[in-house]
Structure formats: C-alpha cells, structure tokens
C-alpha cells in the first residue's frame, strides 16, 4: 500500500466515522487543534484503524499520533513490516 493510499483510507475514516470536514484533512492537520477531535474521537480513530489495517496500536503508540501524517506513517511501518 502506498503512502497516498493509506492517507485516503485514514481520510475516509475521519470523514465517515468522525464526521470531519473533508477539506480540512491534510497530512499536516493536527487532530486536536485543526480537526477539533476529542479524546474519544482519537480512541475511535485508533480502533477503526486497527480494524481496517489489521494492526495493533498500543496506548503509548496512540499517544504519539498527533497529526494525520503521524497516523499514515505509523500504518506504513506496520503494513510494510
């Protein structure tokens, strides 16, 4: 899966599951400040990513995911591994 493909998947989750405005979702967008997601949204995002990509994300790893780019990069390291 390419970085762009992973980005599209993450964007899809944000728009469909968390009702985030599509145009706001960029690689640099910060979850809390730019996308106005709360702690529950982030847990929902992490669980949906686990389901969608078949990966496991620990609470510590999740705490380091601050931007959409961080989420995409994290998935890339797991999907490639």
């Amino acid at each position: 899966m390419t970085r762009e493909e992973v980005f599209e998947h993450v964007k899809g989750i944000l728009v469909e599951t968390l009702s985030v405005d599509e145009e706001k979702v960029t690689m640099d967008a910060r979850f809390q400040e730019d996308l106005e997601t709360d702690s529950l949204d982030l847990v929902e995002l992490v669980m949906t990513m686990e389901e969608k990509f078949g990966i496991k994300i620990t609470d510590e790893e999740a705490a380091d995911i601050k931007t959409v780019g961080d989420a995409v990069d994290f998935v890339m390291t797991r999907v490639d591994a």
Partner: protein, 358 residues
C-alpha cells in the same frame, strides 16, 4: 395528552404507559447491564424481571453465577450472559471502554452491535457507557456527537432535555444536531406530535449567551428540519414547560438536571414535614394523600427510568446510578420503545442528509 381531571399537572404515566402497553408483536431483545449501578445486581435483576415478557426478552450481562442465583426457577423471557469484569465509577471512560473488553458494558454493547440484541440498558459509569457505545455500537453516520436525552419532570407535563452529560463542551453545530435529535425523541418516544424546541440561554433575546449559543440560535432558527423553534428559554422556564424540548450543552444540562432533582426532593421533603406539624395538618394531608402521591410520581425521575443516548445506531438507555427495580424496569421499557419506534430512522434521515438539507 392524558391528564387527570382538574389537576394542574399530568401524571408521568401518559408517557410511560405508552412504553408498557405493547401494541405490536415484535420481539425485542434488551441487554441489561446486571453489574452497573449502586444497587446491582439485586434491583437490576428485579427490574428486568418486572419488565420482561413475550415481546420483551431481557439478556442480563454480568457475573453469571451471582445473577442466576437471583432468578426464580423456570423463569421465561430472561437469559444470562457472563461478563467477568465491571468498569468502576472512577475509571477514565474512553480508556476503560477500549481496554476492558470483558466488562459487562463492553460485552453487552458488542452483543447489540453484532445483532444479538436491539437495545442496551445500564445504570453503570455514564461516561464509560457513552464511550463504549461510540466505539462498539457507533454513531449514526452524520451525527457529530451523541447526546444524553432525558425526560424531565416538569409542570404540567414532562419535557425532553438534552444534552445532560455526554459533551461538556459543544460547538454551535452540535447544538443544532441536538435540536433535531431532541425533536425526533419528543415525537417518537414521548408521543408529542408537534414539539416546540427551546435553546437554554441566559436571556430571551437571540443575542444573549455564549458565542456558541448565539450561533446555535441562528442555525436552529434557519433550519427547516426544525418545525417549531420557540427561541431562547431561561433556567426558570425548564420546570414550567414553556417548550417540549430543551437544548443545551452537557455541562449546563447536567448541572440543571441535578439542581432540579435536588430542589424537587427538598420541596417534597418540606411539604411532608409541613403535613406532619399538627393533627389539623395531618388530617389535611390524609385528605390530599392520593393527589400528593401523583405529584410525587410526577416529580420522580425513577418513573422515566433513564435517559436515551441519542445519535447511536441502537437505543442505549442510561439509568440513574441509584436506580431501584422500578427505574430499571422503566429503562428497559424505554429501550424497547426506542427500538420499535421510528426514532433511529428519523435521526438517520434528518442528519444523514445534512449537506443536502441545509
């Protein structure tokens, strides 16, 4: 609306009778968290037994041996599913909901998600029920935030009040969605055909309130999905039932709800003390006893059983932590009502098409 002759208020039963009187033949399975609440599992099981029947099958989720020990032999319409774990009152909701997969709340909500039941009832940790509902039952697509919608005892009849605790902070858009979901709740669950919506603020004028409330006023006033918007209402209007549905954020709503519950209890206590003052007042109290009981019922939150978490893909009923059997039974009936009514399809229709509709 049904009311007793000449009474200045209506018994809450005009709402709750509709839940109890099963007029359709659908069999609804309601999962009940047997481990949640101050009086679990005893009162929870008792309430579930009162409410269950051929059209309302209850699935009790909790410590199986303990729950089974409370069930009479050969009991029908009730089953038990084991959940070894309980989420406590002081746990961080989102973390607990994700990690505690063996808890009664998570096991029960997953059953609803998997189609093994249609509704869920819990008197446990409210935050955890909200978080686990979002994670396992999921929001109706288009719903930005679910809201806890309660039926509030008011004079002359109860009102719908949301959000009473799911979202401490809100944006104007969330309040607009709460208005739409509250309107659907009043119509489909309470049976009010043309509900009036009020936005709780600190003054009647549209310019009064926080920036989010002022913006929400404009959004709600301009939204064609909301049929009757009264405008802003103030705290003193809540109990006087100026409107059928009161919209606010979860922080204000929770403070308002608890203030009113506490005040009602204090006033009823003072009334009782007044009746007991002398032989004359006791005689007066005796004459009024039956009517005072109806007033007590009208002000008793237990009569409505619980609040509905609106915006989810299935009815999730949050009962009071201190619910007794009556409260749990009513909460279970509310769960069935939520499942057989058009509440969920209405919210999905109105919020799922948001971009096109605005």
């Amino acid at each position: 609306m049904r009311g007793s002759r000449n009474r200045p208020y209506t018994s809450p039963h005009w709402v709750t009778d509709a839940w109890s009187a099963v007029t359709d033949d659908r069999v609804v399975r309601v999962v009940v968290d047997a481990a949640g609440g101050d009086n679990a599992p005893g009162e929870i099981v008792k309430g579930a037994l009162d409410a269950c029947g051929p059209q309302l099958n209850v699935i009790l989720v909790g410590d199986e041996p303990r729950v089974r020990a409370l069930l009479p032999e050969g009991v029908q319409h009730v089953s038990v599913v084991h959940a070894p774990d309980v989420i406590g009152y002081h746990e961080e909701p989102a973390t607990a909901a994700r990690a505690r997969t063996g808890s009664s709340i998570v096991v029960g909500l997953k059953m609803v998600h998997n189609g093994e039941a249609e509704a869920f009832v819990s008197a446990g940790n409210t935050g955890a029920v909200v978080a686990a509902s979002v994670l396992y039952v999921r929001r109706i697509p288009g719903v930005k935030r679910p809201a806890i919608c309660t039926i509030m005892p008011a004079m002359p009849a109860p009102v719908a009040f949301l959000d009473v605790g799911a979202n401490a902070e809100v944006r104007a858009e969330f309040l607009r969605q709460f208005a739409i979901m509250g309107q659907a709740f009043a119509r489909e669950v309470m049976g009010i055909p043309e509900p009036t919506i009020g936005l709780l603020s600190i003054g009647e004028e549209p310019t009064k309130g926080t920036p989010d409330v002022i913006e929400a006023h404009q959004l709600i006033a301009g939204d064609h999905r909301i049929s009757h918007f009264y405008g802003n209402i103030e705290g003193r209007d809540i109990m006087n039932r100026l409107v059928d549905v009161i919209v606010t954020d979860g922080f204000t709503g929770n403070v308002g709800l608890k203030t009113i519950e506490g005040s009602a209890r204090a006033i009823l206590g003072a009334l009782k003390a007044t009746v007991m003052v002398s032989a004359k007042t006791k005689l007066g109290g005796l004459l009024l006893q039956k009517d005072l009981q109806v007033l007590k019922d009208a002000l008793n939150p237990e009569e409505f059983g619980g609040a509905l978490l609106v915006g989810m893909n299935a009815p999730v009923v949050i009962a009071h932590g201190n619910s007794k059997a009556r409260g749990i039974a009513q909460a279970v009936r509310m769960g069935r009502r939520g499942a057989v009514s058009d509440l969920l399809p209405t919210i999905a229709r109105e919020l799922g098409t948001q971009t096109a509709a605005v």
